[in-house]
Symmetry: C2
Subunit: 188 residues, 2 copies
């Protein structure tokens, strides 16, 4: 029974992300999700009481991965390899979640849901920045780092690059991010 419930929940989140991509979070209703799944609205309610809960659940696995990357980076003592690791893993996470990232970057519904986790003291964003630039980076380095993070996320999820394969995109985004935070270019 638990396995079936888990499977239904996973299908529900896949369906929600698909609908978010086409209609945006604001334009997607619980009823639409139920219709695509071929279940009643009550069956959706069984798993999630509000659309905000669904939105958070859709974004949660990628955010958990990001926290795991940061936790591992925090155990690395040498700044250079630590920065390299965070860049590689952040870009890889973005590229593996291109559809999700596209929705994340352009929807106030998801932005509201993730803001609590992404922004503020001890937020993922400030931890990411500290791992990339070090804790004593000047204001200019911090802005450059934010430009790199936002730029990589936006471009990774952009419909403009939808025809570029994952490996090529990953390679170019790593290059761009290394340039912005002042790391030497990787040899091919």
């Amino acid at each position: 029974m638990t396995a079936v419930r888990g499977e239904t929940r996973a299908r529900l989140l896949d369906t929600a992300l698909g609908l978010f991509t086409v209609h945006g979070v604001e334009g997607t209703s619980l009823q639409m999700i139920a219709d695509v799944l071929g279940v009643t609205k009550a069956a959706v309610y069984y798993h999630f009481k509000t659309k905000d809960e669904i939105t958070e659940a859709v974004a949660q696995p990628a955010l958990d991965e990001l926290v795991a990357i940061l936790d591992h980076a925090a155990t690395m003592s040498r700044p250079g390899p630590r920065t390299d690791y965070v860049i590689d893993e952040f870009v890889d996470l973005v590229v593996r979640n291109r559809v999700l990232v596209a929705v994340l970057c352009s929807d106030p519904g998801i932005i509201r849901a993730t803001d609590r986790i992404l922004v503020g003291e001890e937020s993922i964003l400030s931890r990411l920045q500290a791992m990339l630039t070090g804790p004593s980076a000047d204001e200019g380095a911090q802005v450059a780092c934010q430009v790199a993070l936002a730029g990589v996320a936006m471009v990774g999820g952009s419909p403009i690059l939808v025809d570029m394969d994952d490996e090529t995109l990953r390679h170019h985004l790593v290059d761009a991010m290394r340039r912005q935070v002042g790391r030497p270019r990787k040899r091919d």
Copy 2:
């Protein structure tokens, strides 16, 4: 009469942008705009038939400025000074329109309205990229340029940097963008 109409239209667009910032485009109705202005919904209808028309009109002045920047850049024959000019003017436009850019970057309503102008052949985005990297740039340089453009727009409009004054923000964003498109750092 025409002056009064023009003034009302300007007040209406200011009010709309203010409401978009708080409630998003999707969460703002023509009735809300009328209420804040203290006029009837019919008075709003006199100027704009749909919210999409308002959204486009809110974004139009900044987009017109961007086109003027690109038109001027197209008359410059030397690539280096042309790139420098586009970087300075693009960053300045973002910084002067921080509130608008914040809404532009995070709202599917405005993104839909501007996509027609921003994306596609001969779009503003492809013209911007061609002016910054030159027409024969390789794929990596194009991705780097897109990261810089998206990153500068996102960070320029970000609530995280709301306490940074315009001049400082402009300085750091120009530095970040120059680094990303491979221009030497400006001397202070």
